[in-house]
């Protein structure tokens, strides 16, 4: 009786890594291209994109994509410390309101409001979250889910900072180029900075806190201080995005605390693959233009993000980026069993 011939997939690493993640043996130009292409391609693409979408509608989409990519990166950074946030809108909104408020009430110019909003907002968020840093897992997530809502309602109730009307006619960017390039450079710095940071000793501690916080404590490391630093960094990125958006829109209102700014970055990061930063960027750069194409769906877009989020969690839990990375670094061939 003829046995059915069966195959299984065998994966073989490409033979370029010599010893560790950072020591390579480069023997040919091909190896160099293999190694550097994935690093430089996104940078070049991002820097060139504004030339292709010069002005108009798609430049706006590019700007949005960068905004949400920043938020997704900041989510991913917090998630890699084990702080899963369900409220990136908090950072976004705080940054937006600080820069908007400074500009509206004190007539500060843009080159002052954005840095102040970035650092001041991050400091504010860190102090705010400091008391709940001890919470683990889902309890922390619930606090972050509630806080943006609380702020939105506080602003409405107290009628401060423009109340329900928001702050109007803020200073715009001198040119569209500046805003888009600020956003793009922000994304590039965060993307590569975070990837570098998380593989350093500092990042090692952060990942350790995610895996087992009590072991890190037993190692004599003050995990609250590290968590606070991580929130400050993530907060600064989120606030920067908020501040940019404020001046881009020339308006800041309660909508900056809306669920959109939480769900879309989350969906992007989960779709792209959490923990890699590149995944978060790829995910948002897929989702935001997609949602613009599907603008005709109107209110259904939020539902679409929800569907994508569920699908990504269930079907591809490792995320797009890890999948692509694996295909890039490994050959696959069928081996007869």
């Amino acid at each position: 009786m003829a046995e059915a011939v069966r195959y299984r997939k065998e994966r073989i690493d490409r033979g370029i890594k010599a010893r560790t993640d950072t020591i390579y043996v480069l023997s040919s130009f091909r190896d160099m291209v293999y190694l550097f292409l994935p690093r430089f391609l996104p940078i070049i693409l991002l820097l060139l994109l504004p030339f292709f979408v010069k002005g108009g509608y798609w430049e706006k989409v590019l700007f949005y994509s960068c905004m949400f990519a920043l938020l997704a990166l900041s989510w991913d950074f917090m998630a890699s410390v084990g702080l899963v946030s369900l409220g990136q809108a908090l950072f976004f909104g705080v940054g937006a309101y600080i820069s908007g408020g400074l500009n509206h009430y004190f007539k500060m110019p843009i080159f002052l409001t954005i840095p102040i909003a970035t650092l001041g907002g991050a400091l504010f968020c860190t102090l705010l979250l400091f008391s709940v840093l001890r919470l683990r897992g889902v309890y922390f997530s619930m606090v972050t889910l509630i806080l943006p809502l609380l702020f939105a309602h506080l602003i409405e109730t107290l009628d401060i900072l423009g109340g329900t009307h928001g702050l109007l006619s803020l200073t715009p960017f001198p040119s569209g180029w500046l805003s888009v390039y600020l956003a793009i450079i922000g994304v590039i710095i965060c993307l590569f900075g975070f990837r570098k940071l998380i593989s350093e000793d500092f990042g090692l501690v952060l990942r350790g806190i995610k895996d087992d916080d009590r072991v890190v404590m037993a190692g004599g490391i003050n995990i609250h201080w590290y968590k606070a630093q991580a929130i400050f960094i993530a907060g600064a990125v989120g606030c920067f995005a908020g501040a940019l958006m404020t001046h881009y829109y020339q308006f800041v209102g309660r909508s900056v605390f809306a669920l959109d700014y939480t769900v879309l970055p989350l969906a992007g990061a989960v779709l792209g693959g959490p923990g890699s930063f590149a995944g978060a960027t790829i995910g948002t750069f897929i989702l935001v233009p997609l949602s613009e194409v599907l603008r005709a769906l109107g209110g259904l877009r939020m539902a679409l993000y929800g569907v994508i989020l569920i699908a990504a969690l269930v079907i591809l839990p490792e995320g797009l980026f890890h999948y692509i990375e694996r295909r890039y670094h490994q050959f696959e061939r069928d081996v007869r069993i």
Binding site: L135, R136, L150, Y305, G306, V307, L313
Partner: protein, 288 residues
């Protein structure tokens, strides 16, 4: 006097909103952030059954409770089973499911004054200076009855005890012969069905608005967190604290403070004692 009466009805309303959520998330440890969405869906299904299919009120109510209960069961088998154990992913997935349900309902336009569920009995009664419609009296009755049933269910019946068992220690529960997947799915189904029951009691007081899908989730979270997720007395105490706070604030300040009080209570309790006033099982897991 009015404050006491309004406070009691408001508190029981809150307890009613929270009861299904506490059963799933608190008592059996399965996050169901689609609670508010199911509440809304139940109300709208009933409306469709009554007004478009012409089914009598009682049958349409029972039908929508059953349908949403099955939907909760399906949510577990279809979605949560694949993510079991990663609590945060479970929360994200159910929250996403809630967003999908609510936004689709919003898109289909189920919101506004046309969408009103019938009251059980029309009319109202005058107690002191307070006007109380019969619906609210019914609501208090249903709420009290459900809380008593829930208490005996989770402390006396086999199924109820297994709900609590899988939340306390899933592996031990399995070793004692409890099918944890089946129990968790059942608990999600019961919780969703209770959300619809709450919806049928509360929604007739106003018109259906899709925004309540999110609001109910927040109220349920608030009650669950303040009281301690796993305890029935906690639900009662928390809804009375929150209910009276809301009424006092709404009476002496502005009505807008109502939501701020609720949200503030959640953040405060989470920061100070995350397992809530009555919670005790999770104290080791919640923080470091």
């Amino acid at each position: 006097m009015e404050i006491v009466i309004y406070g009691i009805t408001n508190s029981v309303t809150l307890a009613l909103m929270a009861i299904g959520f506490s059963l799933t998330f608190g008592i059996s440890g399965v996050p169901n952030f689609a609670h508010g969405a199911f509440y809304l869906l139940g109300g709208i299904l009933t409306w469709i059954f009554i007004n478009q299919l012409g089914i009598p009120y009682l049958f349409s109510a029972i039908l929508s409770v059953i349908i949403v209960g099955l939907l909760g069961f399906g949510l577990y088998w279809g979605l949560l089973l694949r993510l079991r154990g990663l609590v945060v992913n479970e929360v994200i997935a159910t929250l996403a499911a809630a967003i999908v349900i609510i936004e689709v309902l919003r898109y289909m336009g189920f919101s506004g004054f046309t969408y009103v569920l019938p009251e059980f009995i029309k009319g109202s009664v005058n107690i002191g200076k307070a006007w109380l419609d019969y619906q609210r009296i019914f609501l208090v009755g249903i709420g009290v009855a459900l809380i008593i049933i829930l208490y005996f269910f989770t402390h006396r019946t086999r199924v109820g005890l297994s709900f609590r068992a899988i939340a306390q220690n899933e592996r031990t529960a399995i070793s004692l012969g409890i099918d944890s997947d089946w129990t968790a799915a059942l608990s999600l189904a019961f919780g969703s069905a209770l959300a619809v029951v709450a919806g049928l009691a509360i929604l007739p007081l106003g018109s259906i608005d899709t925004e309540v899908g999110y609001d109910i989730l927040i109220y349920a979270l608030a009650v669950g967190i303040v009281g301690g997720l796993e305890s029935v007395p906690g639900i009662v105490l928390a809804s009375f604290i929150l209910g009276f706070c809301q009424i006092l604030v709404a009476t002496f300040f502005k009505a807008q403070w109502l939501t701020v009080v609720t949200l503030g209570a959640i953040v405060l309790i989470l920061a100070v004692k995350p397992s809530g006033i009555f919670g005790k099982y999770k104290e080791l897991e919640e923080r470091v």
